[in-house]
Every structure is written in structure tokens, then in C-alpha cells.
């Protein structure tokens, strides 16, 4: 069996196709049931505001996130 090139480190990021999306998900699950606005979330996970807004809107559109 061949060893993965990325050492398994970015498997979720690659699987989900977005580093920022995984960071948003990690933060939301680890801080459940806390709520947060996009600006603060961007600061906390150290991603840009437009990037975080894009991912949050996507997660909101599929129903995983809801507005509080």
C-alpha cells in the first residue's frame, strides 16, 4: 500500500475541496452550540472575510447552518 503524499494531514480539506470550509466546520462543531457572526469567525479561524462569508452562505444554503 502506498503512503499518502500529504501524510494524511489535509485529507479532509482535499476531500471537501476547501480549506476554509473545513476550518468553518471545525470551529462550529468545536464550539457548538455557540453562535457567531461572519466577521468574528473570520478573525478566529484566520481566513479572509469574503472567503468565510462564501463558505458560511454555502453551509447555510444546504441547511447545516441556521441564523440565530
Amino acid at each position: 500500500m502506498s503512503k499518502s503524499k500529504t501524510n494524511g494531514r489535509y485529507s479532509l480539506e482535499l476531500l471537501f475541496g476547501s480549506k476554509a470550509r473545513i476550518k468553518v466546520l471545525k470551529f462550529m462543531f468545536r464550539n457548538y452550540p455557540g453562535d457567531i457572526d461572519i466577521k468574528e469567525l473570520a478573525v478566529r479561524i484566520q481566513e479572509t472575510y469574503p472567503m468565510v462569508r462564501k463558505e458560511v452562505e454555502l453551509l447555510h444554503s444546504i441547511g447545516l447552518l441556521r441564523k440565530n
Binding site: 473545513i22 452550540p33 457567531i36 447545516l64 447552518l65
Partner: protein, 158 residues
Amino acid sequence: MAKKRKIIAKKKARARRVKKVLRKAKHIKVKTPRYVLNSNYEFYDELRNLILKSSPAEIDRMITKISGLGKVRLAIISGLFLNESTGGEIADLFIVGDDINKDRLRSFLKALEAEVGKEIKFSLMEKDEFQYRFGMFDRFVRVLLEGPHEKIINKLGI
């Protein structure tokens, strides 16, 4: 000259009025929405299990940041970063190094704690102290190295 001053004073007064209006406008701005996970989502439990199994922080970026703190010889993650309940009572992050920039270290830890959303148990040792403690099977070092951990930087060959 006096006329010019008068005009400037008028302009300043206008600017103040505009600022005042803007300040008021800020207060009546719509509240930004706050988001929370919807636990009724179809795959909520499955996704939760998957996400929580992963490390809370980006290890590769941590390595880069830690390397830039000074002459870092060893960096070990445990507990929180490996999603282990054990090990965390000793240290979630342990760094051995010299000439560590304290300001950079402080901001690094602050950012990391913000990302993880929890307090990080952190420990720092100079190389000489670590090697002395390592050689005499010091309890702290032993518990850390015998428990679940990962050496993300290891220039000591241990």
C-alpha cells in the same frame, strides 16, 4: 486671510455634522446575523464525528509559525491537538528551544487559542534544561513522551 480661516472653520463644522449623522446611522444599522449549527441537518451526527476526529488546528501552519519563534529544537503536540483527553493535563503544546521571541510567542498562542476555541496548555523549556530533565527521567518529560503525542519538530533526534 480671515476669510480663508472662516471657510476652513465652516468646512470643519460641516465635517463634524456629517460625522455625527454617520455615527447615528451606525446605531440603527441592521444587526449582523449570527450563525449556529443546525442539529436537525440530515447528516449532522455523521459530519460531527468526521470533523471532530480531525486535529483542531492546521499542523503544517503551526510548524512554520513555531519554527519562526527562535532556535526551536523540539515541538510536541498532545492532548487537545490529537483529540486525546489524556496528555492534555501535561501540555497540549510543548516547545524546546533557545532565544525564543516572547512577543511572537504570545501572539502565536493567542491566535492559536482563538482558532481552537479553547485554552491551550503550553510549556516551554530551554534546550539545556530539557536535555538535563530528559536524561534524568523527569516526570513531566516522561509522562509527555510516554503518552499519545506527535513530534512536529524534532532536531534533537529523540
